[in-house]
């Protein structure tokens, strides 16, 4: 609607000469997908640092047996918030920063389908994250110390430990309400990106010409809109139990706490793919560019991603092999879990085949992409060992599984995201990140993560459970834990190097041309950073690699630097932020048992939505 090139609209034309809007207001009211992408990046990166800090305290506590750097209560909050923060506030929104910034550019669009909904998603994410983390500080308001009312029942929050009877404080309230707020953000973004990718592709960009990253984004968003309702149901049940005396998970009332586990993992396993598929998409973009060779088996890579999305729904009970579901159930879920290794393996072979016979340029982005493959293989293989229920009976809830998930989510997702950052940063900021610091960052990360997480396989096999704030010297795992802690500190140093790189290149980085890497996809056909309207002329796409010369096609010509006709761009809006502000106020009502806050929150939300709905297109 607001994206069509229209010469009739009286206001808000953008020409290359038009200065970018500046100042705080322009950021707070922005509906530009690129600015929202940057907001997502910096916010999520701050949460990534916070989650990392929590991990470092955890590692310092476990550096030796009988550690007492923090108390049991603090430790339990730390590991709960580390998991919750990394999953919901760091990795998902870091992926979202690329969905926002890159997907519209890759598909040749001027913005997402619903720019104001997009802003709403961001503000809800920010406020939800702040709401959750406020729990670290506001203890005194609940007649407790600070650092004592943060969520403390694990990121998986198993019932019936989370019931009021066993967790009387506000800790779990923060968690149950905060996750519901964040779910709204994810759902809104999910629908937005599905509509964007399906409806806003440039002419000629058929689905099988869609860049792999956009494809994986699409699959991810379908998982988001189907998985988040499931955890929302689980959380609503828990909220009713805690606030209104319902009995969804109360054993004494005839319920079973296993219901929570089914609902949680029915969300939780698709969630794993929500975290890994975007990184797989990034790797599928980075490898072809730097091998100067089309992605090997594009169709197979895309379909295996879709297949993983579907199969991800049939494996949840492999998180529950110790629950005692019986031999038939265990066998079925073992089989489906092993099957999902097949499309995953296929992707890995296709990535290696993409590199094979290429002309590989060893950029930092490529280092991280290859690091992703190398580490994801390890995570995948350890995954097969606990896909086997009897073996899992010795491995689940031990450090072996901690090793596994970190090979997948750090070795996989985090390295994939870093590959994406080094690859797209010049597009997003107009400056290239320093390659020498980048390589240092990569090697510190790579060595640090292996030093941290590899020993955890052995620590787990030697019998150390996860989620324990202390362990005795008699277990014999002190030296391994110390190694792991040293590795974690090394990861900390690597992140400092990365921050140094970000700050250094803000002013002194090399200026990025339109296409610093020789990329095949549309985002490289426009300036870095792109003008507010993205494409001066919407390109017409005729093949899968529009900017490369192939056997059949010449590369398309890049859009002209000056738009031949005025382009209508939407102005900013306050109402997504106002509507978003209603949600944490609503959540404060049950948290503080204050009824009028519920009405106030609802009023703010409705007022925001009302003004949003009747807002004219131009401001």
């Amino acid at each position: 609607m607001s994206h069509v090139a229209a010469s009739a609209a009286p206001a808000a034309f953008a020409f290359p000469a038009t200065p970018r809007p500046r100042g705080l207001k322009s950021w707070v009211t922005t509906t530009d997908h690129k600015r929202i992408g940057l907001l997502y990046f910096w916010t999520a990166f701050c949460f990534f640092l916070l989650g990392g800090l929590e991990a470092l305290v955890i590692r310092l506590q476990l550096a030796q047996p009988d550690g007492h750097l923090v108390s049991a209560a603090t430790y339990n909050q730390l590991f709960t918030m580390h998991g919750t923060t990394m999953i919901f506030l760091a990795l998902m929104p870091l992926s979202a920063s690329f969905f926002n910034y890159i997907v519209p550019l890759q598909i040749g669009a001027r913005d997402v389908a619903f720019p104001r909904l997009n802003a709403f998603s961001y503000w809800v994410f920010l406020l939800g994250g702040l709401f959750l983390n406020a729990s670290w500080l506001v203890g005194p308001l609940f007649h407790a110390g600070s650092l004592s009312v943060a969520p403390d029942a694990g990121w998986f929050g198993y019932a019936n430990l989370t019931e009021r009877q066993f967790s009387p404080g506000p800790n779990i309230d923060f968690w149950v309400l905060g996750l519901q707020i964040l779910g709204i953000s994810s759902l809104a973004a999910g629908f937005n990106f599905i509509v964007t990718i399906l409806n806003m592709r440039a002419p000629g960009m058929k689905m099988m010409r869609l860049p792999t990253f956009s494809w994986m984004t699409l699959v991810t968003q379908f998982l988001v809109i189907t998985a988040f309702p499931v955890i929302t149901v689980a959380l609503v049940f828990l909220m009713f139990d805690r606030f209104f005396g319902a009995h969804f998970y109360v054993v004494q009332a005839g319920a079973t706490p296993i219901l929570w586990q089914h609902l949680f993992w029915l969300f939780g396993h698709p969630e794993v793919y929500i975290l890994i598929l975007p990184a797989m998409g990034i790797v599928s973009e980075v490898l072809p560019t730097f091998a100067r060779k089309p992605l090997f088996g594009y169709t197979v890579v895309v379909y295996s991603g879709v297949l993983i999305g579907f199969m991800g729904w049939g494996v949840w009970s492999h998180h529950m092999f110790a629950v005692g579901l019986g031999p038939i159930g265990d066998s079925v879920f073992a089989a489906t879990t092993m099957l999902i290794a097949v499309p995953t393996g296929v992707k890995i072979f296709n990535w290696i085949a993409t590199l094979w016979g290429g002309a590989i340029r060893g950029t930092t982005a490529l280092h991280f992409a290859v690091g992703f493959i190398a580490m994801f293989i390890i995570g995948g293989l350890s995954g097969v060992s606990h896909a086997s229920p009897p073996a899992d009976l010795q491995q689940t809830d031990t450090y072996y599984v901690v090793a596994h998930i970190h090979y997948v989510l750090f070795g996989g997702t985090v390295q994939g995201l870093f590959a994406g950052i080094y690859y797209w940063w010049p597009k997003m900021t107009g400056r290239l990140l320093d390659e020498r610091l980048g390589k240092l960052h990569f090697w510190l990360t790579f060595i640090g993560m292996n030093l941290t997480f590899f020993p955890m396989h052995l620590i787990g096999l030697l019998g150390m459970p996860r989620r324990i704030y202390t362990y005795g010297p008699e277990l014999g795992v002190g030296a391994l834990n110390l190694t792991s802690t040293i590795g974690a500190l090394l990861i900390g140093v690597s992140v400092l190097v990365f921050i140094g790189n970000l700050l250094r290149t803000r002013k002194r980085g090399a200026i990025a041309p339109n296409d610093p890497w020789g990329g095949a996809t549309l985002e490289w056909s426009i300036p870095s950073p792109p003008p507010v309207y993205n494409f001066s002329v919407i390109p017409t796409v005729e093949n899968r690699l529009p900017r490369w010369k192939t056997e059949l096609h010449e590369p398309i010509t890049d859009p002209p630097a000056v738009p031949p006709a005025p382009i209508h761009v939407p102005g900013g809006s306050w109402w997504p932020l106002v509507a978003a502000l209603g949600l944490p106020v609503l959540a404060l009502a049950p948290l503080t048992h204050t009824l009028w806050l519920a009405f106030l929150g609802a009023a703010i939300l409705l007022f925001g939505v009302y003004r949003w709905a009747f807002e004219p297109f131009e401001m």
């Binding site: 198993y158 590199l355 293989i377």
Partner: protein
């Protein structure tokens, strides 16, 4: 598992120099249940190692061999290869068959059903300690479970409050303890020993301190243990500190939570009828000696965060505590 393959299981540990002793290791099975799992895991480990070696080698060769050379021709733009795709779809599928078949076999072999004459043990998880009941023998104890070597044991696991998970790795895999559900495991221990384990489902503040021991006894010592446990508590000699301790126990809040046969009927905390015969207190976290007992009685939550046994009000005098320690130690 076949003796000839014992060395295989040592390999993962060789990295770490097999030297130390690992009382909670999953790699040193001491029962048929644990050995079945170990054999399965060893098979999976070797398949995984083979796949790891092949795939990582391919990746390394690719990035080393195809580094960009300045004068080389531009790469051939291959888009795919149907036969290769079919090949590398089938290869992992075939390997997974070799993992799946023994997996399903082991699932059914370790489904938790012991022969009918097996020793029955009921395990009940509490925040944060383990209760053991032997219904056929009329024994109730805590923290330390005794079983005879070489005899089948049927363990039924449940919980009194939140979800816990019972795990003694040397004797087999874990099973969750869930209120309202009973999970069963079965094993036959193959060597005498003192095996460590602990709760492995996060269960609140002192999850880390919910440890356990399984003592696998020779037949005669198991019979002796049963005989002691079946008897009443030892009567403290007249005029002894222990007798004074018994009086303190009987007039204090202790009786509300703890059972001592013939003295008190409480069921919230561990049964103390034979507490003096146990090696550890507080769910396996501290040795059962005078110093630890005394500080435990004085202020349990400072030793074990969240412990329900709070400080007594008004606090017990040091003399009372010393008498209580003497009494509890006399309960052999």
């Amino acid at each position: 598992m076949p003796r000839s393959r014992h060395w295989l299981t040592a390999v993962p540990l060789a990295v770490y120099g097999c030297a130390g002793s690992f009382p909670q290791s999953t790699l040193h099975p001491r029962s048929d249940f644990a050995a079945e799992i170990q054999q399965l895991f060893t098979g999976i480990f070797w398949w995984a190692l083979a796949v790891f070696a092949v795939v990582e080698t391919l990746l390394l060769v690719a990035i080393i061999r195809f580094r960009k050379s300045e004068r080389g021709p531009p790469p051939k733009p291959t888009h795919g290869h149907t036969l290769l795709e079919i090949g590398w779809t089938l290869a992992p599928a075939v390997i997974l068959v070799f993992v799946a078949v023994p997996t399903v076999r082991t699932i059914f072999a370790t489904a938790g059903e012991a022969p009918r004459q097996a020793l029955q043990v009921e395990v009940i998880g509490h925040q944060w300690w383990w209760e053991y009941r032997y219904p056929d023998l009329g024994i109730v104890t805590a923290g330390e479970m005794h079983v005879p070597v070489g005899k089948p044991v049927q363990v039924s696991i449940t919980s009194a409050d939140v979800i816990h998970s019972f795990w003694a790795p040397a004797l087999g895999g874990k099973r969750d303890a869930i209120a309202g559900h009973v999970n069963r495991i079965a094993f036959r221990a193959d060597s005498v020993g003192d095996y460590l384990g602990q709760c492995v489902e996060f269960c609140g503040a002192s999850h880390a301190n919910m440890r356990l021991r399984v003592l696998v006894d020779a037949d005669t010592s198991f019979q002796a243990w049963v005989k002691t446990e079946q008897g009443g508590p030892a009567a403290p000699p007249a005029g002894s500190a222990a007798e004074r301790g018994k009086a303190v126990f009987s007039r204090s809040a202790c009786i509300g939570c703890h059972t001592i046969q013939g003295v008190s009927p409480g069921v919230i905390g561990p049964n103390l009828t034979h507490v003096g015969s146990r090696a550890t207190i507080a769910s396996g976290v501290f040795p059962n000696d005078s110093a630890h007992l005394a500080s435990w009685i004085a202020d349990a939550p400072s030793l074990k965060p969240g412990a329900i046994m709070t400080r007594m009000k008004p606090p017990l005098t040091d003399a009372d505590i010393a008498a209580l320690v003497a009494y509890l130690q006399s309960l052999k």
